[in-house]
Amino acid sequence: MSRTERPKTKLVPVPATNIIPERDVSLPPILEARHLGIDFGGLSAVSDFNFAIGRTEIAGLIGPNGAGKTTVFNLLTKVYQPTRGTILLDGMDTAGKTTIQVNQMGIARTFQNIRLFRDLSVLDNVLVGLHNETKYTLGTAMFRLPQYWRKERIAKERALELLSIFDMQDMADHKAGSLPYGAQRRLEIVRALATNPCLLLLDEPAAGMNPSETSELMDNIVRIRDMFGIAILLIEHDMNLVMGICEGICVLNFGKIIAKGTPEDIQANPAVIEAYLGKKKEGQ
């Protein structure tokens, strides 16, 4: 319900310096996972995952390779149905919902291995993201009724506006598959934003980027949060990025949370250091 009441976010052309809406601690978190877990053929991939994300928080999910980070994303977006536990999105239980329904409730994501509609144009990729926001029937489209033209024009304008976040409006007619790697990653974020989410999941957004691109991406992630007033959960291996922009961090190892807290807490946590660097042998 609060999803529908949420006012349509206005795009702010230039990000003002940190206009983060006040951190209202009294508001319930946008996402809360309780005792989340999944088994694959008797093997527990993720277990007892408890985590909450504030309404406009940027949170990080880190951990060594194979720790189950992407699995958590797949659980949140219902690509896998959890074996145990509950996921509350804005206080509503997502049990039994499909990927499609969860997206309509407000979770949008990007993928570790980029999944664009490669043969469609950049603009069309974003327009597919606006699919549920653009409302007209098949008949309206087939007979080209006035409503079709109106809704299409609005959708196109909105899509170009969204593309302008990353200065991509000039590429609108290019094929998505022909874009350079970095632009493809950005387009995936734009497409996810087009679905008007309240929580954005980014799966390794900085993978394959050089330091300057990464620092630009960091600015952009913060800017997106500020512009849209949404929560962002990201998986990332680049510690500069994670420690630089995440307000809350969750460390996963072997499918279990080994630490939670602010970047400072995490950096000082011995369990995290052990997971990443291995245990110090006695006497060394």
């Binding site: 992407t70 797949n74 690509v79 993928f111």
Partner: protein, 291 residues
């Protein structure tokens, strides 16, 4: 009772041919995830080879059989090299369309070469054996025995030899197998060779059973064998055998109750039901895409 037993043997006989052909489908699918539509037509070529070897060139039946198997094997490998290898990294749809194209090329080529009519010949293995009131043809017994031997040999090949291990490795993970020093081209060609050789044996058994060859004989036989492979669980060797015998027996059963014109419809209906209830078949494993 005697009718039932003889129908049972009929079913087992057809089932043996289906099973042999189904093995070829299953092996190829297991290794490159391709529905090799042309597989059925390899049988047709094998049957024509044996037919002409015996009728036009009057070769000894054993020699003709060997010739048919060798021709089928070579054809299978050539098709793989010419049509499928260039498309190994192409979308699956392209590969599937190519396979359909090859299948039609063989069928229509045979029609031009040999004529559209059905070629008939004398029974290869005449005679029957009677157990009380039940009469079974030598052909049926021979077919079943040959099929079982071929299947045992194939199982040993896949389980016990180095090449068999390579085949299993490639079907599990092509990239990893390559990193372990397994030659992809060699292994895939070998798989096609073995599958086509089995099709060659199947073609000879078909010739024994029906004593005729036609350009389109392979398409329906191939489709049914494919149904058998899906029923048993595509990619699984024991599954293909079980599926083959099951389809053979089912057909005999449908014919026995006087509905033989509906035979094909029943087979495909079974296929649809199986795909809906358990897409992975009796012995197969479900496949999921990694996100």
């Amino acid at each position: 009772m005697s009718l039932f037993v003889s129908q049972l043997f009929n079913g087992l006989q057809t089932g043996s041919v289906y099973a042999l052909v189904a093995l070829g489908y299953s092996m190829v699918y297991g290794i490159i995830l391709l529905l090799n539509f042309a597989h059925g037509d390899i049988i047709m070529v094998g049957a024509y080879t044996a037919f002409y070897a015996m009728t036009a060139f009057h070769l000894h039946p054993i020699l003709s059989v060997v010739l048919a198997v060798v021709t089928s094997t070579l054809l299978g490998v050539v098709i793989e090299k010419v049509a499928y290898t260039p498309l190994r990294s192409a979308p699956r749809l392209s590969l599937l369309i190519t396979a359909i194209g090859i299948s039609f090329l063989l069928e229509n080529g045979a029609q031009l070469l040999f004529g559209a009519d059905t070629k008939s010949m004398d029974t290869l293995v005449p005679g029957n054996v009677s157990f009380g009131s039940v009469t079974i043809s030598y052909t049926a017994i021979l077919t079943i025995i040959v099929a079982v031997i071929a299947m045992v040999a194939l199982t040993l090949l896949v389980q016990k030899t180095k090449l068999g291990k390579a085949m299993r490795a490639v079907s599990e993970d092509m990239g990893a197998a390559q990193l372990m020093g397994i030659s992809l081209n060699k292994t895939i060609s070998f798989t096609f060779a073995v599958g086509s050789a089995l099709a060659g044996i199947g073609s000879v058994l078909y010739l024994c059973a029906y004593s005729q060859a036609s350009p389109t004989m392979g398409s329906m036989l191939g489709l049914k064998a494919f149904v058998a492979a899906v029923l048993g669980g595509i990619g699984s060797i024991p599954g293909a055998m079980i599926g083959g015998f099951a389809i053979g027996l089912l057909e005999a059963l449908v014919a026995a109750v006087g509905l033989s014109v509906w035979k094909d419809a029943v087979v495909f209906a079974i296929l649809i039901v199986v795909l809906l209830v358990k897409p992975s078949g009796i012995m197969g494993h479900p496949v999921t895409e990694k996100v």
